[in-house]
């Protein structure tokens, strides 16, 4: 299925588009897949997509919950993050989400075995996504630096939180 045919696609790739995802601004839907705000050329995008462990999941029912996504996609491996796409005005789920795995191979499993199967009686569509920019920065630290010595922390959110848009977004949806 050609990416260009997916009108509800609002790809991740920049901080500003991340925010838009959470706001679900449908006027920013790109008619073509390629993220125009991406800081590199199409070849760079393609290379990053080949390394990505984040998937876009589309054609979800508006009622599909984060919990259901976790249940289905956990069958392919340990999930790092699920971002439910939200409609800007209603702040409700609007048919797509992003699933980020810790390992690329798990995302590949999802592409092979969940793409085109059903969730909530709808045939879902999965596609590779660039993933959050901030996270990819963490993947390329200068040599010699051992990252935070505490164990599983490579995956821990606090490092990504701070003043990032994501943390703000989380707070918005979090405790009020």
């Amino acid at each position: 299925m050609d990416r260009k045919q997916l009108p509800s696609r609002c790809p991740l790739g920049t901080v500003s588009s991340d925010l838009r995802i959470l706001q679900g601004n449908s006027s920013l839907e790109l008619s073509e897949y390629w993220d125009r705000q991406f800081d590199g050329d199409n070849d760079d995008q393609e290379k990053l997509l080949k390394e990505s462990s984040t998937l876009y999941v589309g054609n979800l029912s508006f009622r599909t919950t984060e919990e259901q996504i976790y249940e289905l996609f956990s069958r392919c491996g340990a999930i790092k993050h699920v971002f439910m796409g939200l409609d800007k005005i209603k702040k409700k789920a609007c048919g797509f989400c992003f699933v980020e795995y810790y390992n690329r191979v798990d995302a590949e499993n999802a592409m092979w075995f969940l793409n085109g199967t059903r969730l909530d009686d709808r045939i879902i569509h999965t596609d590779w996504d660039l993933g959050f920019r901030e996270h990819r920065q963490y993947g390329h630290r200068p040599e010699g630096q051992v990252r935070n010595a505490n164990a599983f922390c490579e995956d821990f959110d606090v490092g990504r939180g701070g003043s990032g848009k994501q943390a703000q977004a989380r707070d918005r949806r979090g405790i009020h």
Binding site: E67, A78, V82, T117, R118, L119, A151, V158, R173, I175
Partner: protein, 723 residues
Amino acid sequence: MQKIYESSARLLPEKLTIYTTLVGLLNARNYNFGGEFVEAMIRQLKESLKANNYNEAVYLVRFLSDLVNCHVIAAPSMVAMFENFVSVTQEEDVPQVRRDWYVYAFLSSLPWVGKELYEKKDAEMDRIFANTESYLKRRQKTHVPMLQVWTAEKPHPQEEYLDCLWAQIQKLKKDRWQERHILRPYLAFDSILCEALQHNLPPFTPPPHTEDSVYPMPRVIFRMFDYTDDPEGPVMPGSHSVERFVIEENLHCIIKSHWKERKTCAAQLVSYPGKNKIPLNYHIVEVIFAELFQLPAPPHIDVMYTTLLIELCKLQPGSLPQVLAQATEMLYMRLDTMNTTCVDRFINWFSHHLSNFQFRWSWEDWSDCLTQDPESPKPKFVREVLEKCMRLSYHQRILDIVPPTFSALCPANPTCIYKYGDESSNSLPGHSVALCLAVAFKSKATNDEIFSILKDVPNPNQDDDDDEGFSFNPLKIEVFVQTLLHLAAKSFSHSFSALAKFHEVFKTLAESDEGKLHVLRVMFEVWRNHPQMIAVLVDKMIRTQIVDCAAVANWIFSSELSRDFTRLFVWEILHSTIRKMNKHVLKIQKELEEAKEKLARQHKRRSDDDDRSSDRKDGALEEQIERLQEKVESAQSEQKNLFLVIFQRFIMILTEHLVRCETDGTSVLTPWYKNCIERLQQIFLQHHQIIQQYMVTLENLLFTAELDPHILAVFQQFCALQA
């Protein structure tokens, strides 16, 4: 050209005879090509064996044997190779699994080439057979019970794979090697091929056993169908017929070749040649379930089989779904003797499958489970399936899809239980602090503000108040965790945010081991209706180091969880925890390796460049390596400790049960016991590579001769797996 054939031999083993025929025809035209090809195959075989690539090696041996049929290889030299294979059974001080493989490689080639070899060298073959038979009689089979999907021998015995293959080859021999199933294109070219000059295989010495050699695990052959299951269709070949072996081999090969592309895989399976003479759908379903239920682990990820079966149902909507329904019914009927690990996979498969078909099922057919002890396998299975179905949909949907009689087996509505929520909780200790916290959380308090609110919470465990107030205080943990989780109950994301935002408070409260355990306990009290939430919270807490793996293990074996001890979610949490521990160790080991490599490269550059400044860089790197070394040792020690804790706890509760049954005079084999002992087996099987490192410790410390034989048997079966 050669490369193409070589790789085809490996990648598409189900099309073996086509490729051997092509090689045969080429050899007839060009003798040198044949010679080079055979040499290349032998080299490849040696490499595969050295690289522990035994599955590939089997296909290579089979390919070579079929080249005998194509007049590329002279039969006597093939017999000589097989003689060398079977002589491995005489080797001493090697693992049985090594000897097993060579016997398997020999026997599994015979359906293709047995006839030809016997015709040319019957005396030698008889000798090889006699040696094989005496080996098979004397080899030990302690490992078999651990690998059987069902403990019952009826309706189909679950045979060890070599025993089954031996019986099949014996029968083939009795039938004078008449084998009608394999497609043999070379027969059509006999006039050309019989003119070809044959090559002799060079004498083949099996590579010696080394410490790094890892041989395939033994298997038990999964059988669920026989000819009575499809009375109207073609007859299903018997379990000891060589046709059964060849069909199953080929279907397994197709899956192996195409598992990543389910449409191709399904198409290849349903277009299996000769399908009109066999009940193909039954074979396909049996082979797929054989892989899904294989112990220790399926060859491919579980979810692949779900999707493959859905694809097959789409391709053959008029026939396959019925066979699948029949299979499901049979699996349900035999739940009482099914291995718990396999039941887990059955639950996961069935719930996911149903979610693709609007959860349509004839639940009334399974009404027999409603009158059974709820802890027995059938009602338990239905409960777990409904719980998983709910996770893939929502609570009301489940109530709608089952008949009203099944409501007792429906899962609880996954709501949060907040103990400070209603009027009656006024009298609970800490109630006022809870209210205070709730207000603070809602007004976006900081960690420090939370700390100061918690300072006032008295410690029920201590008479005099600790000045710092940060020692283990269960009440502090209770009010904090209950209130926070309740406020963040809306979704997983909300809860994860909460954990992240108040990470500091969590870490401080859960600093001690008792603290960690109590955090888990309180979290469980809040979310006991929502096992999925419990699992994701435990996962996050480990990853953010609020709790450690040992705390989770201890919590699972604690009395608070004893009521839920046999539920699937508990074991999913434990195995996920162990996997995280394993991944963590691997990650640090890799970091250490990379740092060492970097140092080596730097040294080499220095000797090339003679650069003084890199002395300093060296120092920093060496320091880093030392730190990483310590980290690795500490992580490995934590990993070993985790397994020891788990085994210890198993031994304790199993012994308790066994002693109680002895004094009460009741039977040991309760549903709880079967579940528990198989969960212990599951630990061994699912993490066997890591546990192999601890054998000496386990033998001397935990699984000693004084242990109850029921428990010791599990350990002994495990030891036998790679012995």
